[in-house]
Point group: D2
Chain length 344, copies 4
């Protein structure tokens, strides 16, 4: 790595998640945190002592004008993601954007087009995709260990932070949607969502979402911040095996069940029978997803290495969120997604 | 009880659930199992030695013609529920029908009308409504312990019996739907359902259903016989407390969480805050629901005592199932239920 | 099996566990339940209808005098085990005795000697040894999967039946002691036990026992019928793997942990490090231990096949119980067991 | 608090636990971390930047000679606890000592006598005694909620750090022993312990200990760093209720079971029956024990307020550890503790 070119990055938005990104990028070999930026001077002041080698500014233009700067990390409030990312890309720099990439699919796809045209990196912080447990799930799916994937569902429930300005779908949904899209590897054909607002008018506290894929695979989401259980779980049902990723467990993140239906051709009679075999809990490395995602971004900046959460992946997540919002407003009416390409 | 009039009942359909009903009725004080009926002579033969005091027949007409017989219990295949119940009621006898009451709402409501007109008892075997844990839930809701009920959801999942002729909605759904309607006590205004068939074309293995009530309460169902978890769970979220009924637990059937949002008027700032207090697990009596439901039926036959699973209750469950089936066939399109009375 | 000689057995003692043995033996191919015996006529009457082909008597001598009878199963109160087993063996018949085999080691070893001299089968109902999960444990130990076995411990706790005439050691201990001796395969060198009587003077409600084996393996027992947890668990720690048998689980009876210390030779520094790998939960067949133990006894009667709970195994369990009782009375003083052979 | 006299403390030993104590003391209102001391200059260097207002030294005499210093916190290796505490007390300063207070009871009791004679504070870091969950347990015991306490047992098991120089008894035992003594409030009359060394000769990896109290209460310890389960649990069985403190739980630290034996006088028949009622999980405040213990020490220094882990409490823990070590070396022989006062 010592031979590799050093990548320089700036972080914009130091109020919530930005400090975590800054800290991780600062520690990475081959990466230099050149700039720390926030509109609020007092926010900047809280971080000055931690990064004595970085320059601090309240003006994004300072970063955009710095010819030595390779990339900008955008951790500002959600509505600013798309406009800031556009500025960054148009300034010829690579961009890493907090999730969601944008508030609507049109903006998201425009960003993808701009990045493609200029050969810039556009990457979205779909953190969970880099979680070692999700990588295990992806491996189990891709190697065929699960057999044919039938359906999958996510539970993200808790009595937790109630956002005043973002509903449970936009706040909690990007995690599970990005993982589902990553695991299935298909562009969804149709989605729907229902939910209800109990605490604040127009801000759904609980949302049930559904994603249908062309192959017949079904995805289901249960999202809520008004729940007695604390759940962060993804279950994938295949014809040969079933697997559960439970992020509330420490030692048992992934459980593989060797159980499923017995194909009718192997049994007699009209009933379909089921079988239940061993249960296996593979050791999942303790690697920190946030560190991995930062490494992957730096690598992408350096050598254009592809990532599983590039702009295109981020844009589909936004398309799903947007279509689900439409469905949510119409009591769960199914909403079709345009075939790939049509949206751009 | 010794002074009370003895009630005489006959059981029709001894192949699957009928024997459990016969055994419980036979043991009840004040009840005499007068007839055991099944179309299949060999099925009858399996039960003759257990009920030496009962008469056995393959012909339902024998029961209908017996003037001394008060009531008939119908435990035959689902498609025959409605026609047989009609015969029983028209013969002037009280009827107890396995769930679901009928295959469509029209038939179900006609049965209710016939029973009402003739002042006959029509009761449906919504067993779970008589479960001591559900009675506890009902008490918590009705006494206001939960505060305002926001939403509730049921999980009925397992790797279990795959029915060739009934989908997960009709097979598993009546349990949760009957409990939700019982707890909420409102006629639903709209339902929807999505699902997918993986093992047999046209027979859904997994179904997600939604019930919307006029007051804004939302109910959600997760039904599946293709799942690694064995779950039989109902969660009710209220403004003051949350409660979970977990039927897989032996000692902890009902858990009451003293947690919820803090009303904004009591806090400062724009965020809604949450609080989390004690957890309470009340002792639930070990009484057998099947025994209770049989007792309640015999009591109803004797003195017309009302029950929480009368014909009207059973008919709404069928309306919900029917409307969900419509929604299921149209990819989850929301389906409105007619206001009460309109369906009859 | 159709060619095999039919074995005839009689069961003595039908008040508590005897009926279970009778029912299982009666159903076994190649076995005929010839006699059912109990001193109490009214007890016999409860079982007559279930075994129309068997002869009933209140007099054990009827069984002993029946030349066609191969074997007698003794399920009478514990103090009568040894005297009745002696009568059965001296009458030239094979004997199956409920646990414990006797109330003291001297009696137990005499029975072994009598059986050996007369070439009669003497088998003890150490049911758990035949549990498929224990057979899995034995396989893991014997095949070296666990590496070198370090120690093992059993938890048998509950808020349960409080015996007026038997303490927790004699009531609960034989299960875990028989399993430990079976797994380790060594004659213990020393035992100790401590406990306390809270509900009835002189009858210990909670007992902690310890077994030391010559190889250095340690066994520990936690026995209690005054406990909030319901536990039936055996944990075995080896140098390479650790395994837990939890009989309260339905689907996860046996869990194998691929974890343990890293031998110092493979690491640097003075600290011993540990490693933690996959967890595996092998499918355990649902076979009923009681049925298996009956089959094994019938087989032993037919062809002298050895069993893991023969008289010798049963006698060591009694020796351990007796020595633990001595220790219990002396506040946990360690009590040495005589080397093998010396006791006879 | 602003009016209260400021307390000045120094911390000795910054290699392992000392930094945690220093950080907490430094943050406390009314306390000033005047000195940071370690024999190793390079260890000191790691902490200089964190405490710009404190003086650093490798020589304890600097602290002892500082007339403005009120108290010294000793977090050095265990064998140095007693000699350093003696120096501190003899220099007229208050002392806070990491557990265990000393390596033998004689030293511990001498320290108590010195502190008493000079009216100095001597406090031991029995952290768990200050845990909000243990305070809840103490309250349940003292208020009689549990009824008569019968027995209690601790499980401290894990696959964890294997100490080369300290066995599981001395390393893990002080936690549970201090809690047991605190809850029971009696001086133990007799102890015993058994264990075995598997990884290093003479260093026990697993220890089972027993404490007998004059009132008949029994305490039992299961200590191991070679175990597949991670357990940190204390169970207390009373005549009216049973309570479990499980420190591995986040939301359910303390569970109170309203279950127990039914006194014979209230039932008929010879059997003792049991009853099982509600389960209650009180909300336990999230307060940090380490912060509380530091606050209590500062308070004691300021106004001589008594604490539940004073020198006398710490000395009994050492007496128990020492007597258990004797028992451990003699295969579990019970070892009597001298009545109170005799040891001094």
């Amino acid at each position: 790595m010592s031979e590799a070119r050093e990548v320089t990055v700036g972080v914009v938005g130091m109020n919530y998640w930005g400090p975590n990104l800054a800290r991780n990028l600062d520690r990475l070999d081959g990466c230099r945190l050149a700039w720390v930026c926030d509109r609020d001077e007092s926010v900047l002041d809280r971080h000055r002592s931690a990064y004595p080698g970085s320059r601090f500014t309240t003006d994004l233009d300072d970063l955009l004008a710095d010819e030595g700067l390779d990339a900008v990390v955008i951790a500002t409030p959600v509505p600013t993601h798309a406009p800031l990312a556009r500025l960054v890309l148009e300034a010829g720099k690579d961009a890493f954007v907090e999730k969601p990439l944008a508030l609507d699919a049109r903006d998201a796809n425009e960003l993808v087009a701009i990045a493609d045209a200029a050969d810039r990196v556009l990457m979205v912080d779909h953190l969970l995709v880099y979680h070692p447990a999700v990588r295990k799930l992806k491996e189990l799916v891709d190697e065929g260990t699960l057999g044919e994937v039938f359906y999958l569902y996510g539970n993200r429930q808790n009595l937790g932070i109630v956002r005043p300005d973002e509903n449970a779908l936009w706040s909690l949904g990007p995690h599970d949607i990005s993982v589902m899209l990553h695991l299935v590897g298909e562009r969804p054909s149709e989605v729907s969502a229902t939910g209800e607002s109990y605490l604040q008018p127009g801000v759904e506290d609980v949302v049930f979402g559904r994603i249908r894929f062309p192959s017949g695979i079904l995805g289901h989401l249960h999202l809520s911040w008004l729940d007695p259980h604390k759940m962060r779980k993804m279950t994938v049902i295949g014809s040969e095996r079933m697997v559960v990723f439970d992020d509330m467990e420490t030692e048992r993140k992934v459980t593989v069940y060797d159980k499923g239906p017995i194909p009718r051709t192997e049994t007699y009679g009209e009933y379909i029978q089921v079988r239940s075999g061993d249960i296996h809990i593979p050791k999942i490395p303790a690697a920190e997803p946030l560190r991995i995602v930062c490494e992957r971004f730096v690598q992408a900046v350096r050598d254009r290495a592809p990532t599983p959460s590039d702009g295109a992946a981020g844009a589909i997540v936004v398309e799903v969120l947007e279509a689900m919002s439409t469905s949510l407003a119409e009591s769960g009416r199914p909403v079709a997604l345009s075939p790939r390409g049509a949206a751009a």
